[in-house]
C-alpha cells in the first residue's frame, strides 16, 4: 500500500531532491520558500551532503556552478527578488552548459514587492533569466505531489540536456500541505558525465568548464548548437494536462495555483452547461503549443488565468497563432483570483459577442 504523508510543497521539493541524489544545496533565506533551506539544513548533514547558507544569492548560484562543474546533482532555491540576483549565474550556467536545479517560489513584485503568491516571474523564467541567448527548462507544479515529481524530473532533464532546470512555483504551492506518496517517485540513476571536472588522474585530457569565448565565429557555433538542442527539447519534452477539453468551445489556460482555482470554475461552468475545458501547461519552457493548436478545432475563445498582469497569455497567442481571441483573467501583486472571478470570465466568454 502506498504510504502518504502530509507535507508542505517546499518540504516536498527538498525531500524529492534528496531522493533524486542531490547532496549539495546552497541558498539564502527568503519568504515564502525558506522551508526548503530549513529542510536541507536538517537533512544534509545526516546523509553526508552539504547545506550551506551562502552570504548572498549571488554567492549561492556560483557555488551551484562549482558543484555542477564537478558533475554532481546540485540545487539552489529562492523567491522572486532573490532569483533576480541569481540572473548572472544562470546565464553563466547556460554558457557553460551546466546541469542544475533552481527553484523559484514566486512572490509579488516588482522590486522587493511583497511575500504573497504570484506568477509574475513567468517572463523571467521562460525568456530572460539573464543576458545572452539561452533557455532553461521550466516546470510548473500544481500539487504537492507534483512538486516532488517535477523536482525529480527537473534533475533528470537537466542532466540529459546539460542545462539548468527551473521549478517555478508560488507562495501558495510552497506553503500548502497535501498528501504526498514519496515512495512512488521514479528515481533513475544519474547519467555518466564525461565532461565534468573530476580530476584527470593523468589518464585523460583536461575537461574545461567555461563560458568565455572571445572568437565570435566560435561563439556563434556554440549558440547554434545550443539552439539545436533547444529545438529537440521543444519537440520532445513539452507537457500539459488537458481537462474536460473533449468538446470545449472555451479554453482556460492556467498553470500552477491558477490552474487549481480554474479547475473549480471549469467544473462550475460545466454544471451550467457551458462547454469549457482547461489546458494546464506543466512545462512552461518548452511551452506545450501542440494541445493548443489541436484545440483550435473546437475552441472559439481562450482565457488566460494568471497571477500577474498577463505574461503566459503571449505564449497562448503564439501557440494559437492569434486565430482566436484570448482574454486575460488575473490578479496581481500577491492577490489570487477566486473561482467566482474565473467563472464570471467564462460566462462572459460564453455570452459575450466579439472581444
Amino acid at each position: 500500500m502506498e504510504k502518504k504523508v502530509l507535507m508542505k510543497g517546499n518540504e516536498a521539493i527538498a525531500e524529492a531532491a534528496i531522493r533524486a541524489g542531490c547532496r549539495h544545496y546552497f541558498g539564502y533565506p527568503i519568504t515564502p520558500q525558506t522551508e526548503i533551506a530549513a529542510y536541507m539544513a536538517k537533512r544534509m548533514p545526516k546523509i553526508g551532503g552539504t547545506f550551506l547558507q551562502a552570504e548572498s544569492e549571488i554567492a549561492a548560484i556560483n557555488m551551484v556552478y562549482g558543484v555542477a562543474s564537478a558533475g554532481l546533482r546540485v540545487m539552489t532555491s529562492s523567491s522572486s527578488p532573490g532569483v533576480s540576483l541569481k540572473g548572472e549565474g544562470l546565464s553563466y550556467l547556460a554558457g557553460a552548459d551546466l546541469p542544475a536545479l533552481v527553484v523559484n517560489v514566486q512572490r509579488g513584485g516588482p522590486g522587493l514587492g511583497g511575500i504573497q503568491p504570484s506568477q509574475s516571474d513567468y517572463f523571467q523564467a521562460t525568456r530572460g533569466a539573464g543576458h545572452g541567448d539561452f533557455h532553461m527548462i521550466v516546470l510548473a507544479p500544481a500539487s504537492v505531489q507534483e512538486m516532488a515529481e517535477l523536482t525529480v524530473k527537473a534533475f533528470d532533464l537537466a542532466d540529459k540536456y546539460r542545462m539548468t532546470s527551473m521549478l517555478l512555483a508560488d507562495g501558495t504551492m510552497g506553503q500548502m500541505m497535501e498528501p504526498v506518496a514519496l515512495d512512488d517517485l521514479k528515481i533513475s540513476p544519474m547519467p555518466e558525465k564525461p565532461w565534468a571536472t573530476t580530476g584527470t588522474k593523468m589518464e585523460r585530457k583536461r575537461n574545461i568548464i567555461n563560458s568565455l569565448s572571445l572568437v565570435p565565429e566560435e561563439l556563434e557555433q556554440f549558440n547554434f548548437a545550443r539552439y539545436e538542442k533547444y529545438a529537440e527539447i521543444e519537440r520532445t519534452e513539452a507537457a500539459a494536462e488537458e481537462y474536460r477539453m473533449e468538446d470545449a468551445e472555451i479554453c482556460v489556460a492556467a498553470f500552477g495555483i491558477a490552474s487549481r482555482v480554474s479547475r473549480n470554475a471549469v467544473d462550475a461552468a460545466r454544471e451550467l452547461g457551458i462547454k469549457v475545458g482547461m489546458i494546464r501547461p506543466i512545462t512552461l519552457w518548452p511551452f506545450p503549443a501542440e494541445p493548443f493548436k489541436r484545440s483550435l478545432s473546437t475552441v472559439k475563445k481562450y482565457i488566460s488565468v494568471e497571477l500577474n498582469m498577463g505574461q503566459m497569455i503571449e505564449d497562448v497567442r503564439l501557440a494559437t497563432e492569434c486565430r482566436r481571441p484570448v482574454t486575460l483573467c488575473n490578479r496581481a501583486g500577491g492577490m489570487i483570483p477566486t473561482p467566482e472571478q474565473v467563472l464570471e470570465a467564462i460566462k462572459a466568454a460564453a455570452n459575450g459577442g466579439e472581444q
Partner: protein, 178 residues
C-alpha cells in the same frame, strides 16, 4: 460526494495551524482528498493566524477557503473578520471565554465553548485548541477514540509522543461539554 471547507483562525500561538493539520490528517487517514494552507506573513506574529483546510471525496481544486462551511474562531478579531464569509447553513465554533459577543448571523449554527477557561481549570492551559477541536468533531459526529488516536499519532511528533494522552483527554473534555 461531499466537500467540507474549514477556516481555522485565532491569535498566533493558540495552536490554530495545529488543529487544522489534525483535521487534514484525519481526512487523509480516511482516504479523503485534503489540503491545508496557512496564512503566512507578518500577520502571524501576534496578530491573527488562520489556515484553510479542505476535506473532500474529490480532487481538491483551489486550496483557498474564502467561504467556509465551518469557521473556527479563537479570538474576537477572527470572528469579526470572518463571520460574514461563512456560507449560509454553515457552522461557527468559537471560544466563548475569549469572545464575549454572540454570533450575529441568524443563518448559521453557532457553537460556543469556553475552551480557554476549561483548559485552565483542568490543568492543561495550552490545550484550549484541542478542547475546541473535540467539540467540533463531536458536533459533526466524527468523534471516535480510535480515529482520533490515529490522527493524533500523525500530528504529534515521536519526540512528543507522551503528549498524546493529555491531548486526547482535552479533546474528550470538549466533546462531552454541553
Amino acid at each position: 460526494m461531499s466537500t467540507t471547507k474549514y477556516l481555522f483562525s485565532g491569535f498566533g500561538g493558540q495552536g490554530i495551524l495545529f488543529i487544522g493539520k489534525f483535521v487534514a490528517y484525519k481526512g487523509m487517514i480516511e482516504d479523503k482528498q485534503v489540503s491545508w494552507l496557512p496564512s503566512y506573513g507578518p500577520e502571524m506574529r501576534g496578530g491573527t493566524a488562520s489556515c484553510s483546510v479542505i476535506v473532500s471525496d474529490n480532487q481538491v481544486g483551489s486550496p483557498i477557503v474564502s467561504n467556509p462551511d465551518v469557521l473556527v474562531a479563537m479570538n474576537l478579531p477572527s470572528l469579526d473578520r470572518f463571520e460574514n464569509s461563512v456560507v449560509a447553513g454553515g457552522t461557527i465554533f468559537y471560544d466563548s471565554s475569549l469572545i464575549e459577543r454572540k454570533v450575529a448571523r441568524g443563518d448559521v449554527k453557532a457553537v460556543g465553548i469556553p475552551a480557554t477557561r476549561l483548559a485552565s481549570e483542568n490543568g492543561f492551559p495550552t490545550l484550549a485548541n484541542m478542547i475546541l477541536l473535540g467539540k467540533i468533531l463531536s458536533d459533526r459526529g466524527e468523534f471516535t477514540d480510535e480515529g482520533i488516536r490515529a490522527a493524533l499519532g500523525k500530528v504529534i511528533s515521536a519526540r512528543h509522543a507522551d503528549m498524546l494522552e493529555v491531548n486526547l483527554r482535552a479533546m474528550q473534555l470538549g466533546a462531552n461539554y454541553q
